[in-house]
């Protein structure tokens, strides 16, 4: 079974060498470059001849989707330029495809995130499975920023840590870098344009939820407090950015929204979310069942059988 690896870059010369070196075993490497002005392309040229160009866009997932068609092989691994794989990745991927390649179309791979020089272990950060290894044509990314794609067939296998293939991600050098990126994503995201559906208190509710679910000092120490606070702040900022993009502007009703929103997040839901933290596959199992029962998009089935 042959594999194409697609790496998306934009001014990535610091991390790209390590990323490409870790997938040099792939049968094909495609680098999709977003108008880099540093030595990214020169580094990429050491590993592959297939360097494609794309204009700068605010949301990367749409680009991911667009360039999947470029892969020449059956299986695709999508890697970011600030990620890399371990030394035994080739053997592990080969084994995965040999063992499960006929029964599954996509694999959710746990990811180690390193933030401010610390590898995150706490809720929400690990295993945080990423759907990056899949059969061509079975996965669809929404036009967003760093969302999980949809596995059209629902045949997704989530790998079980600890002893399995991982993605290693060097996310953020420090907290400032994290804040800057979060804000960047929030500013560039797409928001529902219909003012009637806008409800600021739902953003506040999500802020509370983020605060509660992302705190995990047992695993991540004080850093988890800091990150949870940023995530809560991020939810509030997204609410304001959304509001700002609407016309006519609905009432913000912030003052009444605050206490109401707090009540909107019952304790059981937070506990459930925390419990679910490492068991995200529940969602995919549900997806798969729905697909098999025929409740899920018949159009998609037709596309597949064609």
């Amino acid at each position: 079974m042959k594999l194409s690896c697609i790496i998306h870059t934009r001014n990535s010369d610091e991390t790209l060498d390590k990323a490409l070196d870790s997938v040099a075993w792939a049968d094909e490497i495609i680098v999709v470059d977003m108008e880099s002005t540093d030595s990214t392309r020169a580094i990429a040229a050491k590993y592959t001849q297939r360097i494609l160009s794309t204009p700068i866009v605010p949301r990367v997932d749409g680009i991911r989707q667009q360039f999947l068609a470029e892969a020449r092989h059956d299986w695709i691994f999508v890697l970011d330029s600030d990620e890399y794989l371990a030394a035994d990745a080739q053997a592990n991927v080969t084994t995965l495809l040999e063992q499960y390649g006929t029964r599954y179309d996509a694999f959710a791979i746990p990811r180690f995130n390193s933030i401010a020089g610390q590898i995150m272990r706490g809720s929400g950060w690990y295993p945080a499975p990423q759907i990056r290894l899949f059969r061509k044509g079975t996965v669809r990314w929404p036009d967003a920023n760093h969302q999980l794609p949809e596995v059209i067939t629902g045949r997704l296998l989530e790998l079980e840590p600890p002893a399995c293939l991982h993605i290693h991600h060097r996310n953020y050098e420090d907290l400032r870098h994290f804040i800057r990126k979060q804000l960047d994503y929030a500013l560039n995201d797409r928001y529902e344009p219909d003012p009637a559906t806008f409800d600021f208190s739902s953003y506040i509710a999500r802020a509370y939820q983020n605060l509660a679910t992302h705190q995990d000092t047992k695993h991540d120490g004080d850093l988890s407090h800091a990150l949870a606070t940023v995530m809560a702040w991020d939810a509030v900022m997204r609410g304001l950015i959304h509001w700002d993009s609407l016309s006519p502007k609905p009432p913000l009703a912030m003052l009444t929204g605050l206490p109401v929103a707090a009540g909107n997040v019952p304790l059981w839901r937070i506990r459930f979310k925390k419990w679910l933290g490492s068991r995200r596959s529940t969602r995919f199992v549900l997806h798969s069942v729905m697909y098999r029962m025929g409740w899920l998009s018949r159009g998609v089935r037709k596309t597949l059988s064609r």
Partner: protein
């Protein structure tokens, strides 16, 4: 990647799993030993063998030379870990080092001298003691019948055991200096011995190719052996695989 192989380049391979604290001291002692053995141009490679929380380069102490890190997501065998590291960082000499070995200051220099003195010596081990001061390793000998390989003088107080450098059929891979030509001759450690004793297999194969195996006994380095495996009993499967391959093909130089 190391592009040029210098005459005294030394790649030190340390496979490690879950003993981050121990590893720090192992590296510190290694740096000290490298200072004494200053003729070497060292290249330290830590193989993170599926440690639960991956190691980061910045957390590894390095005084002179940078420490390279190779990560395995799924625990690899001793052979695979070492072979991968050495394939990536070829050099004139290789040192296989366990993460639970604290080198004596002049251990490395002594081992190198032994190899230098006899050009047909390809491998050199070193004397190791347990935390209680008794011998853990001072060469490996082979008993008759089912006894097979065992550590000579093991458990005796170090002070009672001769400090004469010796020649053996095998030495331990916990700390093993290897000449590149010998390593290349043998094609690295054999992956067949997934449960252990691959170091002894390596030594015996080396002798078949005409390389001598010696053990430097002037210094005592500390080996906290049971820390890694959780027990210091040899693995039964390892022994079975080993005996199936080697029974009757080594000289009996141990006790009955």
């Amino acid at each position: 990647m190391v592009d040029t192989v210098s005459a005294l380049g030394l790649t030190i391979v340390i496979p490690t799993k879950d003993l981050a604290g121990m590893l720090q001291y192992c590296l510190e002692h290694l740096q000290r030993a490298l200072k004494v053995a200053s003729q070497f141009e060292p290249c330290v490679v830590v193989v993170d063998n599926a440690t639960e929380i991956p190691l980061l380069e910045k957390d590894l102490p390095s005084s002179s030379s940078p420490v390279h890190l190779i990560r395995f997501d799924i625990p690899a065998s001793f052979a695979e870990a070492n072979n991968t590291a050495i394939r990536r960082y070829p050099n004139a000499y290789y040192l296989l080092l366990n993460n639970n070995v604290l080198l004596a200051e002049s251990a490395l220099a002594d081992m190198q001298r032994l190899l230098e003195e006899s050009p047909n010596a390809g491998l050199c081990g070193t004397r190791l003691i347990s935390p209680d001061g008794t011998i853990q390793h001072a060469g490996i000998v082979f008993g008759p019948g089912d006894i097979g390989p065992y550590h000579v003088s093991r458990g005796q107080p170090s002070a009672l055991v001769s400090r004469l450098n010796g020649e053996f059929q095998a030495v331990t891979g916990a700390c093993l200096l290897i000449r590149q030509s010998a390593w290349d001759d043998l094609g690295g450690l054999s992956g067949e011995f997934a449960f252990g004793l691959d170091d002894i297999d390596f030594c015996l194969r080396a002798r078949q190719k005409g390389w001598r195996v010696c053990c430097s006994c002037r210094t005592d380095s500390l080996h906290c052996e049971s820390m890694t495996r959780g027990s210091d009993k040899p693995d039964k499967r390892a022994r079975r695989v080993f005996m199936n391959t080697w029974r009757g093909r080594y000289a009996i130089d141990g006790q009955g």
